[in-house]
Amino acid sequence: MTATPLADGGDSHLPDGVEPRTFDGDQRLATRGEPVYGEPVQDGWRAWDPGRSKLGAMLGRGVETGFAGGDTVLYLGAASGTTVSHVADFAGPTYAVEFAPRPARDLVRAAESRPNLFPLLKDARKPETYAHVVESGVDVLFQDVATRGQGEVACRNRQFLADDGWLVATIKARSEDVTGPTEVTFGHVVDTIETEYEVVTTERMDPLHEDHLAVVARPR
């Protein structure tokens, strides 16, 4: 549950290929790759905006995510590819599942310069529609889907994960229940996740990402 702030210089939790770099005098996390969303670039390193990326915010806060660098990753809810482009910069084969066609167009653009990024226009609630493409035994299952039933999505996609792999999920309370108290909503989702996983860490993402909970878990 402890998070070492980046300012303390603790970056042992950072995967290989993610480094704090200085942009315009500010210390920011960065990865090496082609720019995707107009982020600052210096010497081939792209600044990782924690306000636009929940994973970026987690790493910035020192959360242990299980990403080591060079991992095989299944990323659910890739949207326009902002975060998954950074993941593909430091990880190995990265499968990016996105359901909505419009952001998928941007995702394809991010994938063009990244041979290890595989964009898939699929519904994360239906793993059988991409199990013929995504390999078994992935190291990290990352999930950021804005749909009802986020706990079920994590459970259904457990089959892709290696037994010693990691689930990293960001849960959006407002997708489950628009008006209910967020703590209760998070409780339900975490309960569902716990049917298939052992939860290692949960952490509120406020203030950068309001009403979001980060969950790190290992398969049972």
């Binding site: 949207a79 084969p93 909505a100 066609p101 419009r102 952001p103 998928a104 167009r105 995702l107 394809v108 994938a111 063009e112 041979p115 290890n116 990024l117 595989f118 964009p119 898939l120 226009l121 793993p127 059988e128 529609t129 199990a131 013929h132 493409v133 995504v134 390999e135 078994s136 035994g137 804005a146 749909t147 089959q159 892709f160 407002r174 997708s175 628009v178 008006t179």
Partner: protein
């Protein structure tokens, strides 16, 4: 193919077929596809496998995303316009028919329902034959309008999920049609969205001899129509504001955001509470 990887039955280098497999294929469970692909001779090594996979996924996703977008808002615009045309024409012809059939048959009536009873008749004279045939056309047009409405109802949520959820699929489609597309709707200020469909009244107002219209087609929204006249301007403004945001989210992100509906619900509760306050005030 429930147990095969995407590369099964696919030659290396045939990206088109591979992309189709990525799109259409299924499997009950994942497997160690890279190893299997190398063993089956699809790829000489893992690196070649991943290169082929990358090409197939990029081609599949690009193709599918483009198709989905192309099929999107313009299809909806055509469908809702055709729906209105069919309905209007059916009603017009039904009026003509009720004049004609009223003179030919004992019963008379009006509208599409009357046309349905006439269409079921067995004509006995050449005059009746023409009238019954006309009635059949009316029924066909009304049925087509219904089918188009059903199509709009399934189509609108995929084209504009937030707008469709908030406005209802038909009103969402009408707004997109009046603006000429989702993109142009997303670029309109909320004040314009508020009076879309009330252009005659708006221009009368701009010429200086009428009050400004409070609402256009958004009048059909329950939150506008169901609010007392004194607060309808506020309601129309609130509804138009949130529908505009919904259209922008739909166009620029495409992601469903249920919290938008909740914000409108809250705002409307506040506006409608005024009526209750007034009633209580009257009682005092």
């Amino acid at each position: 193919m429930t147990g095969d990887g995407w590369f099964a039955g696919c030659d290396a280098g045939d990206t088109a077929t591979a992309a189709e497999h990525v799109r259409e294929g299924r499997a009950d469970a994942p497997a160690d596809w890279p190893t299997r692909a190398v063993e089956s001779g699809f790829a000489p090594d893992e690196e070649a496998y991943y290169t082929a996979l990358h090409e197939a996924c990029v081609a599949a996703t690009r193709g599918e995303a483009t198709e989905a977008e192309r099929a999107g808002d313009q299809q909806l615009v055509h469908a809702v316009r055709a729906m209105d045309d069919c309905m209007r024409t059916a009603n017009e012809l039904a009026e003509r028919l009720s004049e004609w059939a009223g003179a030919l048959f004992d019963e008379d009536g009006a509208g599409v329902e009357f046309a349905r009873t006439v269409a079921d008749r067995e004509p006995t004279t050449p005059d009746e034959e023409r009238a019954v045939s006309l009635a059949e056309r009316v029924v066909d047009l009304a049925d087509e309008a219904e089918d188009l409405e059903a199509y709009v109802e399934t189509r609108a949520p995929t084209v504009a999920p937030n707008l469709a959820a908030m406005a209802g699929p038909v009103l969402a489609a009408r707004l997109v049609a009046l603006a000429g597309g989702l993109e142009s709707l997303a670029k309109k200020p909320s004040g314009t969205v508020q009076v879309l469909g009330a252009e005659d009244a708006l221009f009368a107002h701009l010429r200086g001899h009428a009050s400004s219209p409070k609402h256009g087609v958004i009048y059909t929204h329950e939150y506008v129509r169901g609010t007392r006249p004194a607060d309808r301007g506020s309601a129309a403004r609130a509804v138009a504001g949130k529908l505009t945001i919904a259209a922008r989210v739909d166009h620029y992100s495409g992601e469903r955001k249920p919290e938008l509906d909740a914000e409108l619900d809250e705002r409307m509760a506040a506006i409608r509470a005024r009526a209750e306050d007034d009633e209580e005030g009257d009682e005092e």
